[in-house]
């Protein structure tokens, strides 16, 4: 059974939230995850239940009906979700709570918060974040989707790709270019499902994260009113970048929760699997390698909570979080590789948990800022004191 990790930054409250999430995942997610993988999405009832338990309001101020907690809570929540072994479920939740919702919270007007937040917190309205395009992923400033002023609103044209939660979700926060002559002249818009001209062109078929729905979206003369503009016009690039550290943090968190489970599962398997007159775990090559994997996960965990703690102190840990995202996500894939390896032929079978986890993990060094982009963020800051 997964347990709450020993981490200096986790106080009793955060440890209790972590434990509660582990319990929920064990009872309400793990028994159903295989079916959700086949279905290609997480049932809305599950998300409503999570909303009812307050899981979607961790970062929402108490005055707006949430818990008012900070990045440490996001880190511990994401790590606990990662114990599910179904990363598609994890990311469905985290896109809603920690990747899309922060845009609404940070930039939303009082009227927008009043209109949307209650349903977002209850799980009635699931969010997605539409930034990535066919020709612009980590290079956010390169997006081509455009929005032009049209009467009392804006007309949006373009397309988005790889948008998590957009097939079955209810509202997409869309980045669109509003200043054609300015590379950074981008604005954010709240586009509700059902808006005329806003369509899911395709539900995408992925290697992993199969219980998460992922869409290609088309915007064909989509008109939204001025009150659907999120934040300040033309400032969307900067407002988007503000939220990226948190997105990277929770991707690492869910990956580490998964890596820990993969190690635990593999230790159990190798202790049971008879070989060479003993068990696989008795072989030094295997037990020592598992020991090294555990050491690396422990180190990454310490670094993740440190980054979260820095963010809670008001320090924007771009170098630290980018470096962690680059290193930890590659390391997590190494963990999965070895766990598959130590399962032998079984590790290559669709019925084994580590096989699925190894497919799920492959996206981590790509999504939410590719490793190469993350290392550039670190390199740009080499030599600085922080």
């Amino acid at each position: 059974m997964p347990t709450v990790p020993h981490v200096a930054q986790l106080d009793d409250d955060l440890a209790a939230l972590h434990q509660q999430t582990l319990d929920f995942v064990a009872k309400e997610v793990v028994p159903h995850g295989d079916q959700w993988e086949l279905d290609g999405h997480v049932p809305r009832d599950v998300l409503r239940t999570m909303g009812g338990l307050g899981m979607f309001g961790i970062r929402v101020p108490e005055s707006l009906g949430g818990l008012g907690l900070g990045p440490l809570a996001s880190a511990t929540f994401s790590e606990a979700l990662g114990s599910s072994t179904y990363a598609g479920f994890d990311v469905t939740v985290l896109v809603h709570t920690d990747m899309a919702l922060p845009h609404l919270l940070n930039s939303g007007s009082e009227e927008q918060l009043a209109r949307y937040l209650p349903e977002v917190l209850s799980g009635e309205r699931i969010l997605s974040i539409g930034v990535t395009e066919p020709d612009a992923g980590s290079d956010v400033a390169g997006i081509r989707t455009r929005a032009e002023k049209d009467g009392d609103g804006w007309r949006i044209n373009g397309s988005k790709l790889f948008i998590t939660n957009a097939v079955h979700g209810d509202m997409t926060i869309v980045a669109a270019r509003t200043k054609p002559d300015d590379r950074y002249g981008i604005s954010m818009f709240l586009v509700e499902k059902g808006t005329e001209g806003f369509t899911v062109a395709k539900a995408l078929d992925k290697t992993g994260w199969r219980s998460s729905d992922t869409a290609e979206l088309h915007f064909d003369d989509v008109w939204v009113s001025d009150d659907q503009l999120l934040g300040t016009v033309h400032r969307g690039f900067y407002e988007t970048m503000r939220n990226f550290q948190n997105e990277r943090l929770v991707l690492v968190g869910m990956g580490l929760g998964a890596a820990q489970r993969a190690i635990d599962i593999t230790v159990d398997y190798t202790k049971e699997r008879a070989a060479f007159g003993g068990h696989l775990f008795d072989l030094g090559a295997i037990r020592q390698r598992l020991g090294m994997l555990q050491a690396q996960v422990d180190a990454a965990r310490a670094s993740m909570y440190h980054c979260a703690w820095l963010a809670e102190q008001g320090i924007e840990p771009v170098r630290e979080t980018s470096g962690l995202k680059a290193w930890a996500c590659e390391m997590i894939n190494n963990v999965m590789y070895d766990c598959v390896q130590f399962h032998g032929g079984m590790g290559y079978m669709r019925e084994t948990t580590v096989e699925r986890m190894s497919r799920d993990a492959r996206i981590l060094p790509i999504g939410g800022g590719a490793t190469e982009v993350m290392l550039e963020e670190v390199a740009k800051r080499l030599g600085a004191s922080s």
């Binding site: 059974m1 409250d13 209790a16 939230l17 509660q20 319990d23 009812g52 338990l53 818990l67």
Partner: protein, 259 residues
Amino acid sequence: MKVVVCVKQIPDPADPGALDPESKTLKRDTKLILDESDSYGVEMALQLVDTAGEGSVHLVSMAPNNEVGGLRTALAMGAESATLVSDDALKGTDALGTAKVLAAAIARSEPDLVLAATESSDGYTGTVPEMVAELMGLPSVTFAKSIAIEGGTAKVQRQTEAGYDDVECPLPALVSVTAGVVEPRYPSFKGIMAAKSKPVDEVTCGDLGIDAGSVGWAGGGQEIVSIADAPAREAGEVIEDEGDAHERIVSFLEELKVL
């Protein structure tokens, strides 16, 4: 309506337990958690108060070292307050001594209804609720699968091997709740955060007017003479299927008298 629920805080069954050779009991110096078998009583109490539209749920527990971890879980589910009896004199207390302490603590709340699990998951004596009822002079109904309160009467469906009996008794009463008859709610995140500020009244034997000599090792009516680790699980038999595996499995089950 005021409902008191007896809850036990036990060592986490997920952690390998250890016996203390000195006290000859389970080591309890680790973090304690809410006994799962008590979560059904807490849930039942919360549902009864919800149905009544008024009232409160109060918890009573006895634990060493002022441990409140398990109580906080039940408070996070929705209970309003708790009384924790914690006293060095209670070490080694047997089932009857435990019942004396709980009865004294419960009496302070003057409840309409007392709920308890049928047995704890670590001690398994299955006798404490009935002894508490006897000491308090309350009607005792055991193995409840459902409870309804009508006026001053508790209507209980009492689980039996054949089905259930319909039983009625006047309030106040003590009812033990069968595990699994309700689905304990998940504490909400807000409930967890709020639990830390809910009142937990920590009292000692002296506060309850209990003579320390009547509980603990000194007051015990039983003595644990010796303890031993449970025998290690023996290796199972691996049956290679050479066309007759099904016959050997049937034969094995017949030996166990399960067929």
